[in-house]
């Protein structure tokens, strides 16, 4: 049987190469491969081995709780632009964002914000705005008071003016004098964003920012983040929804089970997600004949009959869907059913991790 992995052109992934086989912290650092990095310099934001001049730098960062590893040996650097942190729930996205925001100590490795460690350094908050996932805000404050509090704690020279601008930015002016406790989920999300923006940070970290927003608010927020990115800010947001990331992000970090599964341009990662080895379940008028017909195709590397079903292993998801009808017709076999067996995002992430 041939290697199931697609032959991938060098440098399609811009992330630094992961240390070998699920390396746990004691493993030696893997050397960077300059070729793969140089090949994608044009992609914004850039992911490089360790360029400590970048606003956000993670260097071999791990975090564990007891003996549970939440984040496992992650290295990347982010420049300006919007980056989506994509992964299923529980993948370690919040842990990663909390380490960036200085609210969790990395168990090993370094987290740098503009060249300074995020942990034990309250001054980094001058440059960071954090929008946490939890909805909790002081519910007895009005939206304006809540943002004004943030402005004052930042020691801004004109807290009232900064508050007014931040509230206008997130389109909350009409309800700014209502208690936050009466806000809808989407309004709360926006008031948290206003509070995170009030000191005009160069880095904005958002944990699942689109949760609870209706489509109109979502579009508005995407426009807002785009304009902030255009002004040269570094924006990192987490999401478990591929479409959100795809629509907004210039670059993607895919995280699964605490490991960086892929990093780079979203089109590239989208391709990797689609063109991955796959198993299809096929029912037809003559499974045996169809199986031998498939085996002559280069896109197919295995076919077996299990429980009266034909399982076809292919090297590329989309490649196979293009040929399946033709092969069946040429073989004179009628197709009853063609179904992919593992189409969950989960299995996609698993595959991305396994191929690194």
């Amino acid at each position: 049987m041939t290697d199931p992995r697609p032959t991938d052109p060098a440098g399609s992934l811009v992330a630094p190469p992961a240390p070998t086989a699920a390396a746990l912290p004691p493993a030696p650092p893997a050397p960077p491969t300059p070729a793969s990095l140089a090949a994608n310099r044009s992609v914004a934001p850039t992911f490089v081995q360790v360029d400590t001049s970048q606003p956000i730098v993670l260097e071999r960062v791990s975090r564990w709780y007891g003996n549970v590893v939440a984040v496992n040996d992650i290295t990347f650097a982010l420049g300006s632009g919007i980056t989506g942190l994509l992964g299923p729930n529980g993948a370690g996205k919040s842990t990663l964002l909390h380490m960036l925001a200085g609210l969790l100590r990395p168990s090993s490795g370094r987290v740098l914000i503009n060249g300074r460690p995020a942990w034990l350094e309250p001054s980094v908050y001058r440059q960071i705005g954090l929008v946490p996932e939890r909805e909790a805000v002081h519910s007895f404050l009005t939206g304006r008071q809540f943002v004004d509090l943030a402005a004052r704690l930042h020691g801004l020279p004109d807290p009232a003016g900064a508050t007014q601008r931040a509230i206008a930015t997130v389109d909350l002016a009409t309800v700014a004098d209502r208690a936050v406790g009466t806000y809808s989920k989407g309004m709360r999300q926006r008031v948290k964003i206003a509070a995170a923006l009030v000191h005009e940070p160069t880095i904005l970290l958002l944990d699942e920012p689109f949760n609870g927003m209706d489509p109109r608010q979502r579009l508005h927020m995407m426009d807002l983040l785009r304009s902030m990115a255009a002004a040269g800010r570094t924006i990192l947001f987490s999401s478990h929804i591929l479409e959100e990331v795809e629509r907004l992000a210039d670059g993607i970090l895919v995280i699964y089970a605490g490991r960086l599964a892929a990093a780079g341009d979203y089109r590239e990662i989208r391709r990797l997600m689609t063109d991955r080895p796959h198993t299809f379940r096929v029912r037809s008028s003559d499974d045996r004949r169809l199986a031998s017909a498939f085996l002559t195709e280069p896109a197919v590397f295995g076919a077996e009959l299990r429980d009266d079903r034909l399982a076809v292993q292919v090297s590329e998801f989309s490649g196979f869907t293009r040929i399946v009808a033709r092969v069946a017709r040429d073989a004179g076999v009628r197709l009853f059913e063609v179904a992919p067996t593992d189409d969950s995002l989960e299995s996609v992430f698993e595959y991305l991790v396994s191929r690194r």
């Binding site: 996205k93 805000v137 404050l141």
Partner: protein
């Protein structure tokens, strides 16, 4: 950066959070209890010389630590629990500027409730003679200072652990309640003893027995400073409790 503005802003939000309706009513009831009990003592007829032990039993070793425990752990602990603290922690301010207003508000509210409570209970039990009145005011002032010591301890406990309320209750029952009464050596580390010391220094000579005496003021001040420093140190290392 104007840290006064920071401290005042945090104090204002803390005060509004602490004065939720249910908590306020409960604390008013608690602070009213010594007054009611004082009334019962009065109706039952008082013995001379019973005032110090009555005030200690009614307030210093019971209601004071309880009220300070509720305000002290709510000031910081409940914000850390429900996640609202994140909005305050992610600001470029020294951590003591967060601990200090929390402590001041929790201690201030505790003192605000227990000063009148002590005065009323003292007058009911001891009457209005100048010696008894002096004793009552001595205790009331000591209780005010003790409110801040206890609050500092409970604010620090909630910075250090998510079980601040339970541990704080254990501390006030076991350490303050039992051990420091039974073992002489532990009295140097007992807030109750500091309060008794301060009261003995302020009260008419010879009316209150105390191990630490006027040093109670020093011990109380040192406790507040040390505990606040520890709380600030601990809060700087605060790690958000993971949702995932």
């Amino acid at each position: 950066m104007n840290l006064v503005d920071v401290v005042v802003s945090i104090a204002a939000v803390t005060a509004r959070a602490l004065l939720g309706r249910r908590r306020t009513i409960l604390m008013l009831l608690l602070a009213g209890a010594p007054v009611l009990l004082g009334l019962l003592v009065r109706l039952g007829g008082t013995r001379p010389g019973a005032l110090p032990s009555a005030l200690e039993g009614l307030i210093v070793s019971s209601v004071l630590p309880l009220v300070a425990l509720v305000f002290g752990t709510a000031a910081l602990g409940s914000e850390l629990d429900d996640g609202t603290a994140v909005h305050i922690l992610t600001k470029p301010i020294p951590r003591w500027a967060i601990v200090l207003p929390k402590l001041a508000v929790a201690g201030g509210l505790t003192a605000l409730l227990l000063f009148p409570s002590t005065i009323l209970a003292g007058i009911l039990v001891g009457g209005l003679s100048s010696r008894e009145l002096g004793l009552t005011f001595a205790y009331a002032i000591a209780v005010v200072i003790g409110s801040f010591v206890y609050s500092a301890i409970f604010v620090a406990l909630s910075a250090a652990t998510s079980r601040g309320l339970v541990i704080g209750l254990g501390y006030s029952l076991l350490w303050e309640g039992l051990l420091s009464g039974a073992l002489k050596g532990t009295q140097l580390f007992s807030v109750r003893e500091y309060i008794r010391g301060m009261a003995s220094a302020l009260a008419p000579r010879g009316s209150v027995e105390s191990v630490v005496g006027a040093y109670g003021f020093v011990f109380a001040a040192v406790s507040i400073v040390v505990v606040t420093a520890l709380a600030s140190w601990r809060l700087a290392r605060y790690e958000i409790r993971a949702a995932e």
